[in-house]
Amino acid sequence: MGRALYRALLDTGLARLCSGLLAGIIALALFGPLFSPWEPNEIDWNALQAPPSASHWFGTDLVGRDLLVRTAMGAQVSLSVAGVATLVSMLIGVPWGAAAGYLGGRADNLMMRIVDVLYAIPFVLVVILLVVVFGRNPYLLFVGLGAVFWLDLARIVRGQTLRVRHEAYVDAARAMGATTAGILARHVIPNVAGPALVYGTLTIPGVILAESFISFLGLGVQEPNTSWGVLIADGAQTMESAPWALVFPAALLAVTVWSINMLGDRLRDQFDPRGPSSEHRRGPHLAGYNSRLSETGSSL
């Protein structure tokens, strides 16, 4: 496990670059606001919409707030949204997929049909609906995103469960009178956790992009709080007079998504060499195009 992790994250120059960039961005999110001389909402009246300089490395925005510290705050929000939403998606997707795969038959059919129906609804619709219903509450946004992104995980975990459900240790547990819930929790889920974690990693970039998309539309995180989506939306407004306000948050967002995509692919190759290749995975906000693949794949 440690070796494989090392190989996936640090083995080649490219992997080291991605890991380094990600570590840097996480450090910026965690420590940037602590060490910055500026507060996220502090206004520097001497530097309204100022280009990058020694005192404001990323420049300032229209009202003179330091963009480095705001980008760091945005990173905190965007990364924690991604983390929480991914966790929520795993909490729903893993038990769902494991139960469907283990129970088989009618229950499996029904549960996967529900997944199919949900696949037919693009996530943006669901999230905007949630925004309409619950108002613009960032916490609900986390949960809403997680509740949309669990579908892929449920499919993958179901596939993995089909593989382990006739293993000797599962039969043994059943013979000893273990309950279905107990078998799922103690024997099935631990054995499908590896791939589930890897695919969980791969949902993070999708969530980051989704959050930025929603915040860009003004439906997500609200002022004075900020996220990369909000910063990019503001930057796009003023990009003619202050391109730096768009360039820095956009670059950090792109670098983060790119690095996680690269590392996620490597992780998947290490832990699940027979799994679908990166080409068979859904890209950012390209909901569910492997649905039909796995469907036809399993019926053959």
Binding site: P122, L129, G218, P243, A250, G283, L286, Y289
Partner: protein, 306 residues
């Protein structure tokens, strides 16, 4: 085949009904009504408004009424834009959204399959690595970044294309291109993997051993098989293109349905939001159905197994 079509059709209708029902009750359960403004309305006025929109009836009655209207193709009045019905708004926005989305889908499929085939025919070559590096970047750059930057560079600085709005065909070029970008990247990657895999199949080796020309092998033996995953990607891609155009419409100031959707969401204009969701869902289901049928035509195994 007929049974397969019928099954798919029934399944789509059931899905559609589930979506309509879920959205209807979700919106009715939402806290706060469409008429809660800054200023509290006098009780009588509010009661009159609710009665005018039948919002004072019990929920099941409202639901039955909505389904009945929907059956006749009526999406109801907009709660916020008093002089318009949701049908008017959707009808005025849909052509723009569909045109931009359709153009983007064509561009993404055409360019993506081209790039993917070139890369997949010689995996590991410098062409392959360059193209795949570019597509990786395409996947990491969302429309909210690409669209404003493209607008700034191409329209504002270079002045090659109009900056926004509609009017001439030139107005659609930049929106379609920026909307297509991430999908081009995804389709290119999908095609590459699939072509590279198909090239190692025994039937391709046989075709080579028979001495068939490269072009013919590609066209008759590789592409039909390699494009199967691409075809199945087109349905969800079309769905994402439709919703992705929400951002594009915002940036390029296009009067499409995506704009009404965001406006409706911000104003809690329930009927408008619901109407747009229903239109999107219907379009997506129809497209899914078409893709399923195309898939069944391309892959004989599906035709036989069902």
């Amino acid at each position: 085949m007929a049974r397969y079509v019928l099954r798919r059709l029934v399944w789509s209708l059931v899905t559609f009904w589930i979506i309509v029902t879920a959205v209807f009750f979700l919106l009715r359960l939402a806290p706060g009504g469409p008429f809660d403004g800054e200023r509290r309305l006098p009780a009588e006025v509010e009661a009159n408004l609710l009665a005018a929109y039948h919002l004072d009836e019990p929920l099941p009655t409202q639901y039955a009424r909505y389904l009945g209207m929907l059956f006749q193709g009526d999406l109801g009045p907009s709660f916020k834009q008093k002089d318009f019905s949701v049908n008017d708004l959707v009808a005025s926005g849909a052509p723009v959204s569909l045109l931009v989305g359709g153009l983007a889908l064509l561009l993404a499929a055409g360019i993506g399959i081209g790039i993917g085939a070139v890369a997949g025919l010689s995996p590991g070559s410098s062409w392959d690595r360059t193209l795949m590096g570019v597509t990786n970047l395409g996947l990491a750059l969302p429309a909210i970044v690409v669209a404003p930057v493209a607008l700034l560079v191409v329209s504002v600085w270079l002045g090659w294309l109009p900056t926004g709005g509609i009017g001439s065909p030139a107005h659609y070029i930049l929106p379609a291109l920026t909307l297509a970008a991430p999908f081009t990247a995804a389709i290119a990657r999908l095609t590459r993997g699939s072509v590279a895999e198909t090239m190692t199949e025994p039937h391709v080796r046989t075709a080579r051993a028979k001495g068939l020309p490269r072009r013919r092998i590609l066209r008759r033996h590789v592409l039909p098989l390699a494009l199967l995953p691409v075809v199945s990607f087109l349905a969800p891609a079309a769905a994402s293109l439709l919703t992705g155009s929400v951002v594009i419409e915002q940036v390029f100031d296009l009067p499409g349905i995506g704009r009404y959707f965001v406006q409706g969401a911000l104003n809690r204009d329930y009927t408008l939001v619901m109407g747009v969701v229903i239109v999107y869902a219907a379009l997506i289901l129809v497209f899914n159905l078409l893709v399923d049928l195309a898939y069944a035509r391309l892959d004989p195994r599906i035709r036989i197994s069902l």
